[in-house]
């Protein structure tokens, strides 16, 4: 192993408003190594990275860097209103002879580079028109295409498709060949073991382990992260989902012919009480749109949604919620948390009218229900009055889950519910989904992790280009079947416009 350290950190401490996010952390990154940085939500991984890159000044300790660092931060951090090309080149735009930005060249270059990452979108369009996953790939391209000596990736795969993850791994491989050091943060064990050679484990802001990864059994890594003994942790497969559920007979949710041009073209989904239906598909296949169309957050041209046989008014989130639908949105920061408000207020937000009388809110009722959910979902907070913006990503996600459960829905739409959540919390969330289904809730589960879908769902609806490309049940719930459905040619029955190619 190469021994040249490119980053050396000793005894770094960082405190936010009294919370020690980092507590005397040592960290050494060697040239050419792929170093996994792991830990539970809120362990301090993102904070350490921001210290490494100089975004945060540490309160104490030493940071030594040799070489240029480029970073992909945890939340997609690009400028949605600027064009894809502008985002890619921001800060190092190609120039003309007169020192002005050469837009033609930038466009052409951007197209060439992004093709290598599987993105064919128009690079002159605003970045915001791309899906989250595509944006993540642009961020990846931006970070990798600079001549950096170190590339840091904070949960880069959390918004990526299996196919995109492969692209990412190829990129990592290329970087590795060029002897570039990589810091890799992820909650996905498979990925870590596949690409990383070294690991550093953080727990509650402290470094608890550092060493080669290959020698370390998974179960031991998990035990280091959680701070519990190995025997405590039962190795129960890759996910915490249990057996199939016993679904009712009559569907509680029927969504027919949902059409929202141009991204959704006639999707049908039905879910019975106590059933978990998974939604699979590639990036931009319309899964998020399907969920949003069901709850009425995007306008639809066609189609209707029935709850227990009754039609839900279209394009009206409030009515859909009253009918018993709740949706956990994919983008936590933009569509989930209300950053200024406390954990308590974030949890009760949707249920507020039910917790008040004559428009006056009742604190006692709120406190009771908030306590219940903080305990049940094991949300790590200093107090329910803590501002939600101060929580780690995983705990914010749990707060949002609590919000939707609080609204006592009949149907729960979960768009990437375990994205960015640590192994411990992820298992908890998965177990919770299981439990909710057992209690008779109908769940629509959208996930980019195939394992999660295959294990967690009783039935899978596979989407492609806004169509249903297939439905899988029972024995068909295997990786091969899903990939086949995703890759299958359009049916010749003339469902789609370009069917005449056959």
């Amino acid at each position: 192993m190469p021994t040249e350290p490119v980053i050396e950190v000793a005894g770094v401490t960082k405190t936010f408003a009294g919370i020690k996010a980092l507590d005397g952390v040592d960290f050494t990154l060697h040239q050419g190594s792929i170093h996994a940085l792991v830990g539970e939500n809120g362990a301090g991984k993102s904070t350490l990275i921001k210290v490494l890159t100089g975004i945060h000044q540490p309160d104490g300790g030493e940071v030594r860097r040799a070489g240029r660092i480029s970073t992909i931060y945890q939340e997609v951090n690009l400028i949605p209103l600027m064009s894809v090309a502008a985002n890619l080149f921001l800060g190092r735009e190609p120039r003309t002879r007169f020192g002005l930005i050469d837009r033609a060249k930038a466009g052409a270059e951007a197209r060439r580079i992004l093709e290598g990452y599987g993105i064919t979108a128009d690079v002159s369009q605003p970045l915001g028109t791309l899906s989250v996953g595509e944006q993540q790939m642009v961020a990846l391209a931006r970070a990798v295409e600079t001549d950096a000596d170190v590339v840091i990736m904070d949960e880069p795969t959390s918004s990526l498709e299996p196919r995109e993850v492969e692209t990412l791994f190829q990129v990592v491989e290329r970087l590795h060949e060029r002897n570039i050091a990589i810091v890799y943060v992820s909650h996905r064990m498979d990925e870590l073991y596949r690409i990383c050679d070294t690991v550093t484990v953080l727990r509650d802001g402290k470094k608890v382990h550092s060493g080669p990864l290959g020698d370390l059994p998974r179960i031991e890594l998990v035990s280091l992260m959680l701070g519990r003994s190995v025997s405590d942790i039962k190795a129960g497969g890759t996910t915490a989902f249990g057996e199939d559920h016993h679904a009712g007979k009559e569907p509680v949710l029927e969504a027919n012919d949902l059409t929202s041009r141009p991204r959704l073209n006639g999707v049908n989904v039905t879910i019975r009480p106590g059933e978990v239906v998974g939604l699979a598909g590639l990036l931009g296949s319309g899964r998020t749109e399907t969920a949003k169309a069901i709850i009425g957050a995007i306008p639809t041209q066609h189609g209707n949604v029935l709850i227990a046989g009754k039609t839900v008014p279209r394009g009206n989130v409030k009515a859909a919620m009253r009918a018993g639908i709740s949706m956990l949105a994919e983008d936590r920061k933009a569509e989930g948390i209300i950053p200024h408000l406390s954990v308590r207020e974030n949890i009760v937000l949707a249920a507020l009218p039910g917790l008040s009388r004559f428009g006056l809110v009742s604190r006692a009722k709120q406190d009771r229900i908030v306590d219940l959910f903080i305990k049940r979902l094991r949300i790590k907070v200093s107090s329910p009055e803590q501002r939600v913006a101060e929580l780690s990503g995983g705990n914010q996600q749990k707060v949002l889950l609590a919000r939707w459960l609080c609204a006592e829905p009949k149907v729960l739409l979960l768009d990437e519910p375990t994205r960015g959540i640590d192994v411990g919390a992820k298992a908890e969330v998965q177990a919770l989904i299981d439990e909710l289904a057992k209690e008779g809730l109908a769940v629509l589960l959208i996930s980019s992790e195939l394992d999660e879908l295959l294990d967690g769902a009783d039935r899978l609806v596979v989407l492609r280009d806004g169509h249903v490309a297939g439905e899988l049940t029972g024995g068909e719930l295997t990786c091969e079947h899903v990939l086949a459905a995703i890759a299958a040619e359009p049916e010749p029955a003339g469902v789609s416009d370009d069917a005449d190619r056959h």
Binding site: Y73, N77, L78, I79, G99
Partner: protein
């Protein structure tokens, strides 16, 4: 490449509800009012618009960074007074003194906004008061009005013409052109968009957000000072009563021009169209001639509303 061009074109069209309105207004005015199209009237329109245009170019940059600059009206007046005051020492003092002082106030605005997390609205509101106060100090509570010698070179800057169009018109056009280039074809311009588009992300992407902010406010201050200097040259004196409410005019022409007040998007061309619209509508009110003076503001308000709503609908 062609698709890129076409999509850019539709995008421009969508953004420019104002351009559509301007064309319609001009066409109607041309047909209805015989005097509207006269060369004299056109020259006067251009000149009147040019002072506001200079201020609005700076405001466009500020608004694209997601900020706002309420101090421009006061700085405009202050710039005029300083120019007239400086004119006793010759052309360059007359021109540079207002640029320096107003630019400095702009820098202070920018520093306060960028280095502390104070809202631009409130910081520039304070400098609106401050600059007015300073102006009153200089003019002995408004008792002194500095005159500029009518035969000085500085007056020529405001009064001289080419083809009958005043120098300020050309200065405004050149500045608009430079502003457009700066915004779209330089790294600074990209930083301006990035700062307004998503500040946190811009920081993480290595954009010098603080420096960008200081620069745009400095620019806005300097341009307001320049507009004041040009006005003083044109009026041959440092009039103290100008610039009241000019900040609202500048903001409304920028917004009419399709620049988002939330930041992250906007064009200098749009702003110029906004200035054009405002100038034309005022001229039309004059051409009608019989409108009750109180009713004029109703018309301007309603007009502003129509343009913004139109824009909003076009963008959908």
């Amino acid at each position: 490449m062609t698709t890129t061009l076409a999509s850019t074109r539709t995008k421009v069209l969508q953004r420019q509800g104002a351009a559509v309105a301007l064309v319609v207004m001009v066409a109607v005015a041309w047909l209805v009012f015989p005097r509207f199209g006269s060369l004299d009237n056109v020259r006067d329109l251009a000149l009147q618009g040019s002072f506001l245009a200079v201020i609005a170019i700076g405001m466009t940059f500020v608004i694209i960074t997601g900020g706002i600059d309420l101090s421009v009206g006061s700085l405009y007046a202050l710039g005029g007074v300083l120019a007239a005051y400086g004119s006793q020492w010759g052309f360059f003092t007359a021109l540079l003194l207002p640029l320096a002082v107003c630019g400095l106030i702009g820098v202070i605005n920018g520093l306060l906004i960028a280095r502390t997390s104070m809202a631009p609205f409130i910081v520039t509101l304070a400098s609106l008061l401050f600059a007015r106060g300073l102006l009153l100090v200089i003019t002995d509570e408004g008792a002194t009005t500095y005159q500029i010698a009518p035969d000085s070179a500085f007056v020529e800057l405001g009064r001289g013409t080419v083809l009958g169009f005043g120098y300020p018109v050309f200065i405004a056009l050149v500045l608009a052109l430079l502003g457009g280039l700066l915004l779209n074809r330089t790294n600074f311009g990209q930083n301006v968009f990035a700062t307004g588009g998503a500040e946190q992300s811009a920081v993480l992407m290595g954009v010098p957000v603080a420096r960008t902010k200081v620069l745009v406010y400095a620019m806005s201050g300097t341009l307001s000072g320049l507009a004041g200097a040009l006005t003083a040259a044109y009026l041959q004196s440092g009039v103290t009563v100008i610039g009241v409410g000019t900040e609202l005019d500048a903001i409304s022409v920028v917004v009419i021009g399709g620049t988002l007040l939330t930041g992250g998007a906007g064009t200098v061309l749009g702003t110029m169209i906004g200035v054009g619209l405002r100038t034309v509508i005022q001229n039309i009110i004059n051409q009608i001639g019989t409108l009750d003076s109180n009713f004029q503001s109703v018309v301007s308000g309603v007009f502003l509303l129509i343009v913004v709503v139109l824009q909003r609908i076009l963008r959908r």
